[in-house]
Assembly symmetry: D2
Homo-oligomer: 260 residues x 4
Amino acid sequence: MKYGITESVKTINSKIKIKDIVLDIVEKKANAIKYFLEGEEFKQAIIFGAYLSGSYIAHTLIKDCEEVIIVDIHPHLKDIIFDERIKFMDLNKLQLELRNKTTINPDLVVDLTGLGGISTDILSKLDPKVLIVEDPKGNYDKKITGIDNTSERISFGNKKGVLKTYRSSKVSKTSGTMTLVIDIITDACKTINEIDGVLYVIPNLKYFEGTIFHEKDVKKFLMELNTPAITVSSIDYVEYELDEALCKNISRVNSYVETI
Amino acid sequence: MKYGITESVKTINSKIKIKDIVLDIVEKKANAIKYFLEGEEFKQAIIFGAYLSGSYIAHTLIKDCEEVIIVDIHPHLKDIIFDERIKFMDLNKLQLELRNKTTINPDLVVDLTGLGGISTDILSKLDPKVLIVEDPKGNYDKKITGIDNTSERISFGNKKGVLKTYRSSKVSKTSGTMTLVIDIITDACKTINEIDGVLYVIPNLKYFEGTIFHEKDVKKFLMELNTPAITVSSIDYVEYELDEALCKNISRVNSYVETI
Amino acid sequence: MKYGITESVKTINSKIKIKDIVLDIVEKKANAIKYFLEGEEFKQAIIFGAYLSGSYIAHTLIKDCEEVIIVDIHPHLKDIIFDERIKFMDLNKLQLELRNKTTINPDLVVDLTGLGGISTDILSKLDPKVLIVEDPKGNYDKKITGIDNTSERISFGNKKGVLKTYRSSKVSKTSGTMTLVIDIITDACKTINEIDGVLYVIPNLKYFEGTIFHEKDVKKFLMELNTPAITVSSIDYVEYELDEALCKNISRVNSYVETI
Amino acid sequence: MKYGITESVKTINSKIKIKDIVLDIVEKKANAIKYFLEGEEFKQAIIFGAYLSGSYIAHTLIKDCEEVIIVDIHPHLKDIIFDERIKFMDLNKLQLELRNKTTINPDLVVDLTGLGGISTDILSKLDPKVLIVEDPKGNYDKKITGIDNTSERISFGNKKGVLKTYRSSKVSKTSGTMTLVIDIITDACKTINEIDGVLYVIPNLKYFEGTIFHEKDVKKFLMELNTPAITVSSIDYVEYELDEALCKNISRVNSYVETI
Ligand SMILES: Nc1ncnc2c1ncn2[C@@H]1O[C@H](CSCC[C@H](N)C(=O)O)[C@@H](O)[C@H]1O
Ligand SMILES: Nc1ncnc2c1ncn2[C@@H]1O[C@H](CSCC[C@H](N)C(=O)O)[C@@H](O)[C@H]1O
Ligand SMILES: Nc1ncnc2c1ncn2[C@@H]1O[C@H](CSCC[C@H](N)C(=O)O)[C@@H](O)[C@H]1O
Ligand SMILES: Nc1ncnc2c1ncn2[C@@H]1O[C@H](CSCC[C@H](N)C(=O)O)[C@@H](O)[C@H]1O
């Protein structure tokens, strides 16, 4: 708590930070995948897409896999991997390896690359025993549905599942972790603005994907997420209410793998 | 326009910047005051509160006043004044002058200090011919109404007016320029998120009042406002739609002086 | 509870009926007036406007007034008065009496007629000791503000108050009891639709003012209000949640008399 | 247009009636099915579920089918069928026929019964060449997803499709025609309430399914739908705006058959 412009008004931050919301969502996605895999064990797992859930999902898979490799088109995303047991490979490297056909022979593939992501070509070459593709679609949107090709990507492997993530009774246009984080914070702000004594509510959002994908600065990106999700100008101490509104919105996220 | 994570998705900024919205609102407030003053001319005008509209309102009054003084409790707010013809005085200096009773004898006083602002005591000492007090209240909020004392402040002077600013059919808890800016951007985001092909919408907001009042860095504050109001991740080019949604929301702001 | 189309789905009504919401609002308005009057006693009180709060406000004033008269332009609104101690007079009758200057000499006048209601002419003739005028304006709306003349009506009497009623942090365009009821039910529906397992939510609203003012059928009107405010199609029993959402919205209504 | 309580205020109905919205949605569903069937011709089509789209969908299928039969569990729903060329059979009758195995041998089956509707048992007995099942799910809702068994129902036939219907960027909990109608009207009301000069907005909704399923009165039900969708109390003539807001919301409905 700090005072605002005058002592009549206080400035209050949510205890919940943006990164806490990210963590909650990627945990739900990881759990959905674990549940689908039913404790099965794998020799080699390849996860496509390090950002934003890939790194955490890899971390939860490591104990059931002899080897977990994250493949990303952007080499600098190696820096987002926090678990040292995970291998990183950029897409070029993978394609080279595939031509040589030596080290790459995954029995589990998880594709988190979403809209405009990996080609079905690569998936067909890998042809894993188990394939999970994340469906990038959230609530129905004609144009997003138009460019999505999840159903084509899911045509390989014996056991096939589509990872879906929605916010119950709320609109999110994609299942992307960042989309969900933004929508959760924005919706919580609406509720908070209706609390008696609140003057205004600030969602502490910026175009974070510019930092990580255009500036290519993973460290700065992670620091930016280490920020209270919401700041409020208020007459009363409403810390508790801020976090409560965020929690309620976070709890609306549901993730599950639909068997195909 | 830039591409997003992959080339399937674009990143688009609104042309309208945060400072454009600020300017539109302070213009409306200034016009409301001009309209109330009906072209009357003044010897000395004192405006209490430099931030956020005070500086601009002073600027529009200068041509009908021999002297315009802005008084603020925070000395560093001198830096927010862009029109060199305006004098700045901090509150201590004014109180000193008042004791000496020499230079200070305003025929127009505009109080923009809002919640927890100047004491009625000072207003009673100045006792100007014309007094305008900005009502900080927006839509009804019990607690804000509880600490507001506009009606007490408006008991001096011959001609008295209360400056009121609302967003038609929308909720804003105060008439403060910053409150209105935040609510305009937040509400525009909701509309934009419903456009086909939009993945997510980011209101480029942060706690700007921390920069100007806690860090006391006016320059950085002004730079921070020089940012596109909204950034969007989208399949199509929706520049036009972004600015349209902002404009519609900006046009809902109405400011007028109610004669008492 | 009943089943819906199949036994998988239930149909549930709120316990709270439309008339319960009406009663809560008119009680708040009546209390605001009582509080303003501070237990003062009156010889003759005239209330303009029987519908929708007038009848109840008259009922609460009777114990501090020797005589309470409701005046309405519509003679058939006599039927909305449930307390037999209240006298009813239609506007024509009042004007006749005023010309003869015999029985009419109120020390308290309450004008609830709102937009397009009684002329200031009549109020000036009555010139009561205490005058209360209900401000029909809710949240700022340019056109409603344009046709409202509350400030002109409030220019008579020694003690003057304006009755204001708002929904905290929510938009209602007028302070009219019917407007508030409709907005409360509509807003509660939004919340209820976000409950897990709810299929759809029906606000049991129709153009009730058609029944009472065009059909001139007060009895039917009262029967129509004797309906559950909301009906829901749902998988679970959500009776409690229905009423809770309504209660929360009802509690946002605030009514008070502002001394002029 | 009529005047409201006083001549300052008008009462305005939308030209669009509830039945117009119903028709628009069932047309979209029918078109989605026609598009999926690609002009194929059938000997015998069976449609399960007469209400609310079944009757219209049957009507559009008749020109490509030698025989179209609607089967419903409620015998009185025969009355909702307006095209005399369609045969009606209640569920008991169908089950009798199935035991005798004479007349029933459909090459097209469309299941519109939704949550708690027909058993997969019957679908397996019919085993048609083409099977279309309407997915009752709208936006993700945990409990509705929990009781839905669309994926089990769609396990028969050579060509299989799931009929899906959503409101783009808006929340509807089911794809049911009635759900969509209610949500369209409710959402349009929100927009209309923000028009300058509008006092209040009434969605002309009631629990219509009570009339048709509990009272079993199809005629009365159809009459109830023959009502303007929205009534408004307003200072200005806003007929055009009412219908525009409804149209925009109606146009958000998208229906398509997803091939399985
Ligand atoms: N062809 C490709 N091969 C490998 N990685 C790719 C790729 N195209 C995109 N990517 C990577 O896939 C990620 C897409 S963003 C994925 C977000 C994720 N589904 C979530 O919800 O958290 C980025 O890290 C991007 O660099
Ligand atoms: N007692 C006092 N005397 C002078 N200035 C004061 C004051 N208390 C607060 N202020 C100043 O008044 C301003 C309050 S913020 C005012 C915002 C303005 N009404 C708008 O809508 O734009 C700040 O600049 C603050 O520093
Ligand atoms: N000139 C007039 N004289 C007396 N009654 C009038 C009038 N014009 C309108 N009325 C009556 O005043 C009422 C207006 S509706 C008032 C609603 C009330 N403010 C509430 O919120 O409950 C109606 O009963 C109408 O018949
Ligand atoms: N077991 C069953 N066999 C046949 N019809 C059934 C059934 N169970 C329910 N029905 C019928 O199926 C319909 C369910 S309501 C269907 C609504 C439709 N999907 C729409 O969106 O318009 C009702 O007409 C009901 O009577």
